[in-house]
């Protein structure tokens, strides 16, 4: 029996915007790299760096559904969640309204991979020693080349995890009839009446601090690490 349900706002606009900008920028980074547009590739990387700084900050200071402490769960919770995964009953009766315990791992893996990817890019040097990341002057040519090679390989790993993420979302859409994609667009998700634990949203000043923090980090990195 389905419980009467409400549409409740679970994702704030910052989290949604960061998510879709990441989609656009990962695609842009891929395209610019494939087509040798290294200057635009660098800008794309800076933008991603800013988003990652903001998302990490938001994971500690943002709205409740964006906070790592709220959604990252231990192995027991993940196991319990896995056991009921084949059930076609929608999620919200057993987990928190945001990320489920398994999805939390996906969030962590994707964030970690993107952080690794952007960091490698900062130190990468192209084969001709002409194009290079903004912090590459801190490493030798050999190290910069190794970073570039790894940067290329790690992207394939990232693609695998993105594929897994999309497959999971489609599984929810088709098998569980739970549209997570729409929820990431408009921010609302169906939650039963009896479990309307509304998330708490972060204030505008907190958002502004996060944007400023991201801006400062990108500014310093783009200047090659020179603060003055």
């Amino acid at each position: 029996m389905s419980t009467p349900a409400n549409h409740v706002q679970i994702w704030d606009s910052a989290t949604r915007l960061v998510h879709w900008l990441m989609v656009v920028l990962v695609a842009t980074s891929w395209w610019t790299a494939e087509n040798g547009e290294l200057e635009y590739h660098r800008y794309s990387g800076y933008a991603l760096l800013g988003l990652l700084v903001f998302r990490l900050y938001w994971g500690f200071a943002g709205s409740s559904t964006a906070r790592f402490a709220e959604f990252v769960r231990g192995p027991r919770a993940i196991w319990a969640y896995l056991k009921q995964l084949p059930s076609r009953v929608s999620d919200h009766s057993i987990s928190t309204p945001g990320h489920n315990p398994l999805g939390a791992l996906s969030v962590l893996a994707l964030l970690a991979l993107m952080i690794g990817q952007v960091t490698l890019g900062l130190f990468a040097v192209d084969v001709d020693g002409i194009e290079s990341g903004p912090l590459s002057h801190m490493v030798s040519f050999e190290t910069g080349r190794a970073c570039a090679e790894l940067h290329e390989t790690l992207f394939d790993v990232l693609l695998v995890f993105i594929g897994l993420h999309i497959a999971a979302v489609l599984f929810y859409l088709i098998y569980k009839r739970d549209n997570l994609i729409a929820a990431m667009i408009h921010g609302r998700r169906r939650v039963p009446h009896d479990r309307s634990t509304a998330p708490s949203f972060a204030s505008l000043p907190r958002f502004v601090i996060g944007v400023a923090l991201a801006g400062v980090v990108v500014w310093i990195v783009a200047r090659g690490g020179n603060i003055l």
Partner: protein, 164 residues
């Protein structure tokens, strides 16, 4: 509470390892297997050139340029631009069992290739002169021009990087 925290930490560590382990194997396999003879001379020569270019870029871009390092790197670029004329003898093109990005056009369009080599040599000479004058701004400007000469030849005579 602390138990839950510990298992979370363990889980984070395991996921970290799961991502890091395959990567460390990739680091181990480097790209220095570039054949023998002229293939190796060529590869090592261009590797040294890339290294010199990085030095020029770093030193002219920073706030305290090391003029001695700039002169030394410009010397390498200048020397390489002369040596490269000998690096593409007949028969040193792409063939089975050799890893090279040199395109067959180098040998099928020898005049075009020679012109591309000369363009680089001319720009390298100017770079060397700028470096010896100690004028960092001039080196920076000429670095861009020399880079264009590199790119010109790479666009026409170097195959795109193969996907591993």
């Amino acid at each position: 509470m602390s138990n839950r925290f510990r298992s979370k930490t363990a889980l984070l560590l395991i996921s970290g390892l799961a991502v890091a382990a395959p990567l460390s194997m990739l680091v181990a396999q480097d790209d220095h297997a570039h054949g023998e003879g002229i293939y190796k001379v060529r590869h090592d020569g261009y590797h040294k050139l890339g290294d010199a270019f990085k030095t020029l870029r770093d030193e002219t871009g920073g706030r305290s340029p090391n003029v001695a390092a700039i002169k030394e790197a410009a010397q390498v670029v200048s020397d390489t631009s002369v040596h490269q004329y000998d690096w593409f003898p007949a028969g040193s093109g792409p063939k089975a069992g050799v890893k090279t990005r040199a395109k067959a056009e180098i040998w099928s369009k020898p005049e075009d290739f020679a012109a591309a080599q000369k363009l680089f040599a001319d720009q390298a000479k100017k770079l060397h002169a700028a470096a010896n004058s100690g004028d960092v701004a001039a080196v920076k400007a000429q670095f861009g021009e020399t880079g264009k000469a590199c790119k010109n030849c790479h666009d026409n005579f170097r195959a795109p990087e193969d996907k591993k």
